[in-house]
């Protein structure tokens, strides 16, 4: 197990190294070059010269790359030019991360809470109306553009019915103390129940919109896995031993069927961030997704590079954790 962990950590280091080279090359190939990219349209001849000096653009490429790495490791990614002008890019990232994490966590929770039970029951009653309805829903779910669904939900439930808030993370007048930046958690920690409830209401519609694609994936994998496992010899053996349905369901079917589902949940991290870019834009949530779309519109590459590096690292780390957990559950995988 230790050897497996070390090998996977080694792979992680390689991925991050390759990513840093690609990101370095990307910043250099942007229209107008890195100086215009990082300074935006506020560049003056003096600030250009200063930045060329600071970035060492007059030096050979490998020296430039080395300096880029040094700055990145020390957390210096430059100053935001478009999203929150004047604020260090890393700070913009840290301020906005809780909103996105909160939204993604709720969306993933919805997707798992709906996808696994539905997948299980759909497989156990193959061909029933429940099976057909959930399969149809999962197929339609991936065909609907996320941002259109978000608009639709906002239009129906927020604008027409007025049942849920239209945008933002909090109602304007609400009295909320900020502790961690995770508003639901903050409300619970400071015992401001109305603030926590308000933050939760603001997240419902965006979370539903964001959860559709992960739900479809988790539902279909669960259904397929349960169907596969039900046909296995050990399930037949369990039946012939006379075990009760309940024991077979919990120990033989679910436990084995959930293994591939765990991996798929890890792989949804990327889909969640892609979806968050669109959902946050529709509901005007000040998270990383909105920072990304604003960053691209306003050419704020300082912020963009932090978010790209961070989201890739989160994705790789989550999948590393999932793989390690998987190897801990299933000893067959460790030798590979």
């Amino acid at each position: 197990m230790l050897r497996y962990t070390v090998r996977r950590l080694g792979q992680l280091v390689i991925v991050v190294a390759v990513l840093s080279i690609l990101l370095f090359a990307w910043l250099r190939s942007l229209p107008g070059g890195p100086v215009s990219a990082l300074l935006g349209n506020r560049a003056t001849p003096e600030s250009r010269a200063a930045l060329i000096q600071q970035l060492g653009l007059d030096q050979p490429l490998y020296v430039q790359y080395w300096k880029f790495l040094q700055r990145a490791v020390s957390g210096n990614f430059g100053v935001s030019t478009g999203v929150q002008p004047g604020t260090p890019a890393l700070e913009v990232f840290l301020q906005r991360m809780p909103a996105t994490l909160e939204l993604s966590a709720l969306a993933l929770l919805l997707a798992v809470a709906a996808g696994i039970p539905l997948g299980y029951f759909a497989a156990r009653r193959r061909g029933s109306w429940l099976d057909n309805v959930s399969i149809t829903w999962s197929l339609v779910g991936v065909a609907v553009p996320v941002f259109f669904l978000a608009f639709l939900l906002k239009y129906v439930f927020a604008l027409e019915l007025g049942a849920l808030p239209v945008s933002g993370r909090h109602e304007a007048g609400i009295n909320a103390t900020e502790v961690t930046g995770f508003y639901i958690l903050d409300g619970l920690l400071t015992r401001e129940w109305d603030a926590a409830w308000d933050a939760f209401l603001h997240l419902i519609l965006p979370a539903i919109a964001l959860s559709t694609i992960p739900f479809s994936v988790i539902f279909r994998i669960t259904r397929a896995a349960v169907l596969d496992v039900t046909e296995e010899d050990y399930v037949r053996t369990a039946h012939s031993k006379g075990l009760t349905e309940r024991v077979i369901r919990a120990r033989h079917i679910l436990r084995n069927a959930l293994l591939p589902v765990v991996t798929i949940i890890g792989l949804q991290t990327g889909a969640l961030l892609s979806g968050a870019v669109l959902t946050e834009q529709v509901f005007n949530l000040p998270g990383l997704g909105q920072a990304l779309s604003l960053g691209f519109q306003r050419q704020d590459f300082a912020v963009l590079q932090v978010v790209i590096i961070a989201s890739a690292m989160v994705y790789v780390l989550v999948n590393l954790i999932v793989d390690l957990a998987y190897a801990a559950i299933d000893p067959r995988l460790r030798t590979r």
Partner: protein, 312 residues
């Protein structure tokens, strides 16, 4: 179902086994036989057929030039008004006073082009990477897969947007390229996996033992048998390309030239009118959802049909 009835059924099934209808038939032929009778496939294929037919015939159906602002005098920025439906213009005009129905009809052409071109480019790149990695193994495999891993670790939309941002001017081509490159690592990884499975299989060992040339082993023995999952993924990728192109437009990285209509671009540019004129979004969105659903249905039924487990 009770275990006892399940057991009875299984015994009956066993009793019936003999050479099935698929005995001695190739996987492709038996897959087609199953596909032909699958209602999911038939629905999906009809949607795609109608879509392609529309794209081909739309120049005849559209009555107006999609680039002309024929109803511009009825557009009012200040009062947020766009031209309503009227004689000759069944769906009215868009936010610039251009004929909406004609744009919607002709939009099918560009949408089809985006889907097909993005998938072809993505497939080409992915096949190259996958064949390299799967055929050679060793350090080539390691190198290719590390690059693929990195591309997969960046969320797909973020990757597409990063590629789009590399171009100073956004055109239909940059949109296609951005959407296509996202597909490359997916195809690459998929093909490499099934090529590796082929490498270890007995028929490849047999071909090697007979002294078949390495190139011929890769292209004649491994590749054709490894293509099944790739065919499925390309069908699904046609749907993903259309949706991703719409998302790029929504984020402001769609084609800057709006005189040639495309559904994703129409949907993306309708975002500011969603509260006041939802029809501007509903029509292109409906078309996109229907077509994406068509490709997804065909892809899923292909996956089922090509699965050897369903061969009975």
């Amino acid at each position: 179902m009770l275990p006892s009835t399940q057991r009875k059924q299984r015994i009956d099934e066993l009793a019936e086994t003999g050479p099935g209808p698929d005995a001695g038939v190739s996987l492709a032929a038996s897959a087609w036989r199953r596909l032909r009778r699958n209602p999911v496939f038939l629905v999906g294929a009809s949607i795609i057929g109608a879509f392609v037919l529309l794209a081909l015939s739309s120049p005849l159906l559209a009555q107006h030039d999609p680039a002309l602002r024929l109803l511009e005098d009825q557009v009012s920025r200040a009062q947020n008004e766009i031209p309503p439906p009227q004689p000759g213009f069944p769906l009215g005009g868009d936010q610039y006073g251009r004929p909406f129905l004609s744009r919607l009809l002709l939009g099918s052409q560009q949408t089809l082009l985006v889907a097909v071109m993005a998938t072809v480019i993505g497939l080409g790149g992915g096949l190259t990477l996958g064949i390299l990695a799967g055929a050679f193994g060793g350090w080539v495999d390691t190198l290719v897969m590390r690059v693929v891993d990195v591309m997969l670790s960046v969320p797909s939309l973020l990757l597409a947007v990063s590629i789009g941002a590399l171009f100073a001017q956004q055109t239909q081509f940059t949109v296609i390229l951005a959407v296509a490159i996202v597909q490359v690592p997916i195809f690459g990884r998929l093909l490499r996996g099934s090529m590796l499975a082929q490498r270890a299989s007995d028929h490849v060992l047999a071909a090697r033992a007979l002294g078949v040339k390495e190139r011929s082993v890769v292209f004649r023995h491994m590749l054709p048998n490894a293509l099944g999952p790739v065919v499925v993924q390309s069908t699904l990728s046609l749907a993903v390309a259309i949706i991703d192109a719409a998302a790029l437009s929504f984020l402001g990285l769609g084609s800057g030239d709006t005189s040639v209509p495309e559904w994703g671009q129409m949907l993306g540019s309708a975002q500011n009118f969603f509260d006041s004129h939802p029809q501007l979004a509903f029509w292109p969105a409906g078309c996109i959802i229907l077509v994406a659903l068509g490709f997804t249905l065909v892809g899923e039924s292909l996956r089922d049909a090509l699965d050897p487990k369903n061969r009975r």
